[in-house]
Symmetry: C2
């Protein structure tokens, strides 16, 4: 495996046309602009998100299985009405909520997140190697990922990423001039042996010293739907610790489990509390519109992350944090999540049934069944290019369905870009529309023959 | 003037001990940390804010004239109760507010900000050279300033800043490895001739090409309280345009005017809409706890700023933006600001009266009278070091008052650091406490004799 991977990890000094072609062109396209910083020039150009949004606007009749939005009909309107009423009716508390807070965040909310993490992972604070000071509130988990990127990465530094991975974080890393290197992932998540082999390959290239972190979405990955298996969890923490790397664990979808039991987080295996950076959010499990997330940080990163956040906003909106704490104080969060699970389970099943009925009969189509999250990941026959510039995408639009081309979810180097892959989201559409959308996609694929 | 300025703009290649001493040591202290990015290493160490917070916690009996907080008793609790009730009672609108929005922000709020800007500046959209697409919503004006820094600045790039300036933005610039160069400001704000002279001096050093922008808080500056005069406004825009620089106009305090008439913004003189970047916020005029701000951007910066924001959070909390739009729809904003003005006017007068009574009798103490904002700026005799490490600060704490040492508000180069300056905030204390605090400060100064 090591040799295969050596050839797959590109040497930045010699980019063959083939390697250039393997990169994901539309996530983050560099352009020349006078007066802009290098960072801005790296991040410019049409993003895949803006292209998809333009398509959606131009074709309002499309069934979008692209957007990672949550189901609008299941947003916690009643709960928020009660929480805002309670907070704003109490003069002293209301004024505190509408005032500045601290950069690290509202203490009762940090405590609630801390307590919940320990319960979920079945640990005491001592066993977890954690203190409350390691919890920082951010505006969604994405802001935490952004700060982690700023704090760890200089140009040419490397982050090993499961291939495929959450494309916004790939874009953050690349906008910093750092390099994403893809590592093989299968139905049990990122492959620990492949992480080791990739590190060995980079060592041979003299680049091992540039590797700063490993990035993994440990529950119901965006886009693959896969969770890291029980067996691999401690192994990944061990590898990261042994190589002196941070392990960035994205738990954005942890609450959205529709079958099976919760697993202890990667963080729970980091007894020293110094290896795993955990990024979480209430955007998927509660409401993206209030945009409250958090980080669980190794002690030595708390100061640097707070320094960046101090430059950005010196603390996320205190009002929103107070409302989330109130939701927990009212014991309103868990019942909401339970209702959400029941609802999304139906949608996931609708998506998987439609895949079985319409897509599996097509030769070479593969799909793992997720146990949670918002996504179904498809692999089409190798010959089918699903990209924005390929033949399938426009045909799918003609047939009435929009998807995210899997190519944008691949790191720059390492595992080759899966140009035959597709991410379908089942979050926003009804079961009927999900079925219709998958059926339309099947028609579009058959039209390619 | 040009020659004087030449000697005041330090050549980075030769830093004398004196020049090193002139920099503000506690805003942003570089330390060595294995594994962190250059940016994180630049931003690390004790910040002045954390030092002041620690002092406050250790001495809860202190009268803090340091924090730039707004008066908690005047936060819009009733207005927010009505706005949240209205938004959350309307199912469709509630669900939209709790869902993801767009990166640029909630359109009705952007429209309200656009309309208000035109009215305030007495212009049509055509006269202003603006379209709605140039308005972007951010989490406070600080996030906008942060993105502007990221988008414009590479290491060793230069921003000319009024001396003194808002210290958080100075820290942002320096954390990016860019350089803040201070330009003389007087009771009419930054001196246009001094901007020209500084540019000429940098030209002689071969660094003119690194200058990217000029930064000015045009209304009731933090910390100096000064507004840019009518005559200087068009002159500054003209200089920036002529030299191909952006003019970053911070209008965080525009609404907090307690005497005299509003002035057209610097932006209003940028007929092409391509020179001035305006950063505004509702944190001071309404509520910092909901943390909604905005930017008015030159057309060519809209894409780059949205790309950065797309990496950070793909849009600020939609809920908060919807609430702010509702506040405008209910015509509740202007009455609130009017009440705020009446309230802060009394506090400002209490502060100025106390300065007259207790501080002016001390030889060499000077203070301009602001017409708005939250700050009074003091210059003590040249021999008095007001810094955190100086003799006055601890004596002031002993006497029961906390202030912000003016030294942290000075750019790295250019105008020498005013080590004898103090920022007093009158936002959070009662008139009585303001008076007591100023009296305590006078006692501390007299004890130095």
């Amino acid at each position: 495996m090591s040799e295969t991977l050596t050839t797959m990890v590109a040497d930045p000094a010699e980019k063959s046309p083939d390697q250039v072609k393997r990169t994901a062109p539309s996530r983050c396209r560099e352009t020349q602009s006078r007066g802009l910083s290098q960072r801005a020039r790296r991040a410019q150009g049409e993003t895949v998100v803006s292209t998809l949004m333009a398509k959606t606007l131009a074709h309002p009749e499309l069934i979008s299985l692209a957007a990672g939005f949550v189901d609008a009909t299941r947003l916690p309107v009643e709960t928020m009405l009660k929480a805002t009423g309670a907070v704003l009716a109490d003069g002293k508390r209301a004024r505190a909520a509408l005032q500045y807070g601290t950069t690290a965040g509202y203490a009762p909310l940090r405590q609630a997140i801390f307590d919940r993490l320990l319960v979920a992972d079945g640990q005491t604070a001592e066993q977890a190697g954690l203190t409350l000071g390691q919890i920082v509130i951010t505006s969604g988990s994405n802001q935490l990922l952004h700060h982690v990127g700023e704090v760890l990465l200089d140009p040419d530094d490397i982050v090993l990423c499961a291939a495929p991975s959450y494309f916004v974080f790939l874009g953050i890393i690349e906008s910093l001039g750092a390099v994403t290197v893809g590592v093989e992932a299968d139905e049990q998540g990122i492959v620990p042996e492949a992480v080791e082999a990739t590190l060995a390959a980079l060592e041979k290239q003299g680049r091992a010293g540039r590797v700063k972190a490993i990035y993994v979405t440990s529950y119901f990955d965006n886009p693959s739907g896969v969770s890291v298996s029980s067996r691999r969890r401690p192994a990944l923490v061990d590898i990261a610790a042994r190589h002196g790397l941070y392990l960035i664990e994205d738990v954005a979808y942890r609450e959205l489990r529709y079958r099976g039991d919760d697993l202890p987080s990667l963080r729970s295996f980091d007894a020293g509390g110094d290896t795993v950076i955990q990024a979480g959010t209430f955007s998927k499990s509660f409401s993206p519109g209030i945009r409250v997330g958090w980080g669980v940080l190794p002690r030595e990163l708390v100061g640097p992350v707070l320094a960046q956040k101090g430059h950005l906003d010196f603390g996320s909106a205190n009002f929103n944090q107070t409302l989330m704490a109130e939701v927990f104080a009212r014991d309103a969060f868990d019942p909401h999540v339970q209702r959400l699970r029941d609802h999304y389970r139906e949608k996931m099943n609708a998506a998987l049934q439609a895949v079985d009925e319409f897509l599996r009969p097509i030769d070479g189509v593969r799909c793992e069944s997720p146990a949670g999250g918002l996504y179904v990941w498809l692999r089409l026959p190798e010959t089918i290019d699903t990209g924005l510039e390929g033949p399938l995408f426009d045909r799918a639009v003609e047939e009435g369905v929009l998807y995210v081309p899997g190519e944008v979810c691949y790191p720059r180097e390492g595992v080759p870009v899966g140009r035959n892959t597709i991410r379908l989201s089942f979050g926003i559409q009804s079961c009927e529309s999900i079925r219709d959308g998958v059926k339309s996609l099947a028609r579009a694929i058959r039209r390619l023959d």
